[in-house]
Each structure stands twice: as C-alpha cells, then as structure tokens.
Amino acid sequence: MDLVTAKKLNKDYTTGKVTVHALEDVSFSIAAGSFVSFVGPSGSGKTTLLNLIGCLDRPTAGKINVAGKDVSLLDRRSGALFRGQNIGFIFQDFNLIPVLSVYENVEYPLVMVKGVNVKDRRKRVMELIEAVGIEPEKDKYPDQLSGGQKQRVAVARALVTSPKLVLADEPTANLDTKTASMIIGLMKKMRDDLGTTFIFSTHDFRIVDAAEVIHTLRDGKLLESKQKNTEKKGEQNV
C-alpha cells in the first residue's frame, strides 16, 4: 500500500522577474514501511520535494497525497495538525531546542503537539531514549552533546509520536562517516522495529547504499527510481 503518491508535482520560485523551476512534473509513489532515499546534487530539488511531502510547502501544480490525504492545499493550521499526527522530522542541523534537555526534547512533541498524559509520556520517551542509546545523556542539554548524539536525539524526537512517516533532510551531512553510518543504521533499525516509513534526502553516496529505494533527481526532474537489486526505469523517468 502506498503511503505517499505524487502526480506531476511542480514547484516554481519567483524572485523578481526570474522564475526558477525547482521541480518539474515529478511523479512517484512510496510504499508504507519502505526506506527511501532521494539523491542528487545540490539544487536538484531534494529538499523542495521533502518539504512538499512534509506539508511545509505547497506545490505550484500537481497533487501530493500523504497517508490518504491530499496535502497540496492544507492551510497553516491544518498542515501543523497533519504533521503533528503523521510526520516526524530529522534535520541536517539537528534543530534541537537548546533550552530543553535531551529528555525534554524527545518529550516535546508529546506535550505540545499530542497532549499525552504524564505517565504514558514518560514510558514512551524512555522507550525511545533507550532505543537510540542516549539514556546516559537524557539530562544533558544539546550544547553538551556530540553531533552523533544530537542526531540520535532528533531521531528519537521524530519517532516519539509514532508517526507514519519520517522525513530526514540530509541527516548525515554534518556527521563523520562512522557516525553517519551509525545514524543510518539506527534509522533502519527503527524502521524494522516500528514499521515507520523513512524518506531521506542525501547526496552522500556513502549512505545511499543503505536505502531500499533510490530516487535520483537532477535539475528538478526525477531521472530514475531504483529498487535495491531491482532496477525499474521508464514510467517515472523524465
């Protein structure tokens, strides 16, 4: 069953009199529970595509359906509600809240977004903290953590609400190779354990291999979609 489907997605940015086509007629579908990577050089449209999937931006044309809902035209409030219920985010720069401890950062979406009661919250947060291996650091603040530890916290925060989908934009860009592999391994393990769909963008070919499905973008166009060990070209190629 497809969790994400995109049909002829277009996204244009206009600055003054110049219009840049960030995405052109991009169509694809992503099955629930898959581990998908969008690859391509800088400026190829990876982040734009993730932003559209994550309801952070709206397409200029085309339709995008996430978890059975057309998210192309969600307003600010509906978009926030939808994200809070269905999507987790992992950012390149970790984006942890500096005034909150590790525990509180992971807890944040349960308090502020889902309104889960204290008892259930504590249980769920500790499960995730243990799962990503940062229990000893749970009382530390982000500025006391290494890059790898921060990204583990970000992974835990993204998963704490049990979202259907986790979007990770260049999650390993600020990490060394060893830590990057470890974070990718962690995300994959979480997918295996929890069945969450992971979609990440990267141009780091060291970690592309971990993906089960690889979509290649260039100049805003989807060049090819490869399934590991099974290459399928044609219908989504531009």
């Binding site: 809070g84 984006n95 809240i97 308090v111």
Partner: protein, 412 residues
C-alpha cells in the same frame, strides 16, 4: 501550560544579560513610579488636611449665591434662623457627619488706635469650630487656645504690622446690613499662624460678639462648615446634601442653599489636580519604557529564534501555541519587573520614612513627609506593567506564530 511557562522562563534566562537589563529598567521604572505616587499622595493628603482641618472644613453650606461673591463677604446673603434650623435638622440626621460649625463672616476695619487696616472676621462658636477644624487651636501661636467673649484672634502678619500683642486692646469697626457703622473693642486673645503663607487676614471672634457688632436682631449665619468622620466620603455626602437641600426653594422659587466641598472653595485643589496630571504623565512614561523595552526584547527573541520557531512549527506545534509561548515570555518579563519594582519601591519608601524628610509649606516649617502606599496602588501599577508587557509582546508573538515553517527553517 506549565511546560509553556517553563520553556518561556528558560528562554528568558537564556539571554541573561539582556533579560537582566530589561528587567532592571522595568524594576527601576516601577519603583520610581511607586515612590512618586506615594510621596505626592502623602504631600497632597498633608496639604489637604492642613487646609480643611485648619480653616475650611470638608464641606460648607451657604445661601445660594454666597460663594460667587464670597470675596465681598455679603451680609445680605446670610442664612436666617429658620433656614439655619432647616439645615441643622438635616445635618443632625446624617451619620457620616462628625461635627459642624455655624459661622458669621464679615469684613471690618482693625485699629490699634494709631493706625488701621482691613480684616476678615469669622465669628464662631469655639467649641463647635474647634471640633470642625481641629487644627485651629494649634494655629494659635501665643495666648489661650480658645476664643472668649470680648477677645479676638489676630492673624500673625497683621499683628506684626499693627504692632499688637496678647492683651492689647484693639477696635474693630464693621458696617452692618443696614449701612450703619459700629465699633467694638476687643482684647487680643491670641496670634494666629497663617495656613497658606503671607496674606492671611482672617481673624476669629466669638459668635456672640459677631452678632453684637453687626447688631443682628435675629440670629443669622453666613456659612456652616462641616467635618466628616471619613474624609473619603466627601463626594458621597456632598451629593446627598445637595440632593436634599437642592429641593429647598426660596420665596422666588429659586434654590435656597448651595453645598460645596473643599475642592470648590480653595485654589489649592488646582495644585492637587496638577499633581494628579503629573502622576498620570509619570505613569505614561513608565508604560512607554515597559512597552519599548519588552517589545525590543521580544523582537530580538523572535529574530534570533526564527529557526527554532520553524522547527517547532514543522514538528506540528500549532500557531496558537507558538503565540502563547512568546506572550508568556512578555508576561513573565513584565511580572518579574513589576514584582521586583514593587519590592524596591517599598524598600525606598521605608528608607524615606526612616530618614524623616522635612519640608516647608507656606509659613509652616519642618513638616515631616510620611510616605505610604496602598496595596491597591501597588497592584494597579503592577497590573498596568504586566498588561503593557503582554501587549508589547503580542506583536512579535503574532509575527512568530504567522511564520511559514519553511521560511523560518531557512533563516540563518
């Protein structure tokens, strides 16, 4: 809610120096306003007390039209016995009234047999007058603290100018309502200190002497001065008296009486109003200080934390929650400033009272300033500060809540 407050407070103390400076500004502003309000209020109440308790009383009742020509002390606008009895009957039924004193007021010529000058005379019943204006005895600088028949209390500067002292014989000449001139000898029984400075020409004699000098065939009076048990009820009692006496008509069908509080009887009330206006402007300045400083801090906070706002919005935090987060920061900043300002202000007042600041008012030397502030004043100023802080934080908070997550996340 608790989590929102916790996050707001942590964000405030994340930038310690900035928060401390802004809070200090609010603290000093609040403390200054509280001290100003307290000192001016103390000054006001002291001065009002001096004027009402030394000569005016809290409320006065006259025949209609008397106050308009009060400088002439018109004898033809005196209240006759029947009118006075009517008023007396009413006053005896008002429980808020502590005492009242009928007075005959008239102008005359004061002579020491060598030279003469003009004088304004108050003919009073000493017992009633002292109960109504209890500071009057303390104004008698020399002599007995009473007014006996045949004695006169002479204003200080007039006594000095005319070179008369206690026990001297003087003559007062007055014209009665018919136009005939009468003279009457008095013994100087006391010298009166002035209330408001040089120029005081009000002397006091016994009411019986007043009737004799004016050759009044029937008892009549110029005014009735009233003292209330509670000063704060002046407006209420004045309105009630006006309501009742306003119904009384003279033979021409016009209102027979007029009722005035001290506010309408002394120009000092304008000074009181000026002090109130100054206090208002000082409060406006405080509001401006709080508004600008809190708004500045909140604008900086939103600007510096734009990416964080983008992150929490991306995670699914609703715009209303983001708004609340920043509003609570403004509220907390205002509240902390208001509380510390109230503490500092109270401490400053305690010190001011401890060192006993003295000042002069008119001819009165060495009045001690006793500042105090009511809890309601502290609460009013604190609430104003907190409300203004919240309002100042609203604009930046609204801006934060309206940020598009995608734009906010791109912010560098």
């Amino acid at each position: 809610m608790f989590k929102l407050v916790k996050i707001a407070l942590r964000n405030l103390f994340r930038y310690k120096r900035r928060t401390f400076l802004t809070m200090s500004l609010i603290t000093i502003g609040v403390a200054f306003v509280l001290v100003f309000i307290s000192v001016t209020a103390s000054f006001k109440s002291m001065m009002i007390g001096e004027i009402t308790d030394s000569m005016l009383g809290h409320i006065q009742i006259h025949k209609k039209g008397y106050v308009a020509s009060i400088d002439n002390l018109p004898l033809n606008l005196n209240l006759n016995q029947k009118a006075f009895n009517k008023v007396k009957q009413l006053l005896d039924q008002v429980p808020e009234i502590e005492s009242y004193s009928p007075r005959i007021k008239f102008g005359g010529v004061f002579s020491n047999f060598v030279e003469s000058t003009n004088i304004r005379l108050n003919a009073v019943d000493p017992e009633k007058e002292f109960a109504t204006v209890p500071l009057l005895p303390s104004r008698i600088m020399n002599g007995n603290k009473t007014i006996e028949n045949g004695e006169i209390l002479v204003p200080e500067l007039l006594a000095k100018g005319m070179k008369v002292g206690i026990g001297d014989t003087v003559v007062v000449i007055a014209t009665n309502e018919d136009g005939s001139v009468n003279g009457y000898q008095f013994i100087v029984g006391g010298i009166l200190r002035s209330v408001t400075g040089p120029g005081g020409r009000d002397g006091y004699i016994h009411i019986e002497d007043g009737r004799q000098i004016l050759r009044l065939e029937e008892p009549e009076i110029s005014e009735i001065a009233i003292r209330l048990k509670n000063f704060d009820k002046i407006d209420e009692v004045e309105a009630r008296l006006q309501g009742k006496l306003g119904k009384e008509k003279n033979q021409q069908g016009q209102p027979a009486f007029e009722v005035h509080s001290w506010k309408q009887l002394t120009p000092f009330f304008n000074i009181v109003r000026m002090i109130d206006v100054m206090t208002f402007f000082i409060q406006l300045m405080l509001i401006a200080v709080v508004l600008i400083s809190v708004m500045n801090v909140m604008l900086m906070a939103v600007y510096e934390r734009t990416r964080e706002i983008g992150t929490i919005a991306a995670i699914g935090t609703l715009p209303g929650r983001i708004l609340s987060m920043f509003v609570i920061e403004g509220f907390s900043l205002g509240l902390m400033g208001a509380v510390s300002g109230a503490v500092l202000g109270s401490l400053a007042l305690f010190i001011l009272n401890a060192i006993k600041i003295s000042f002069n008012f008119g001819r009165q030397q060495g009045l001690i300033l006793t500042s105090s502030i009511s809890l309601s004043d502290i609460l009013t100023v604190s609430v104003i500060v907190v409300v203004v802080a919240v309002l100042a934080g609203l604009r930046p908070a609204f801006h934060a809540s309206r940020l598009e997550p995608i734009e906010a996340l791109r912010h560098v």
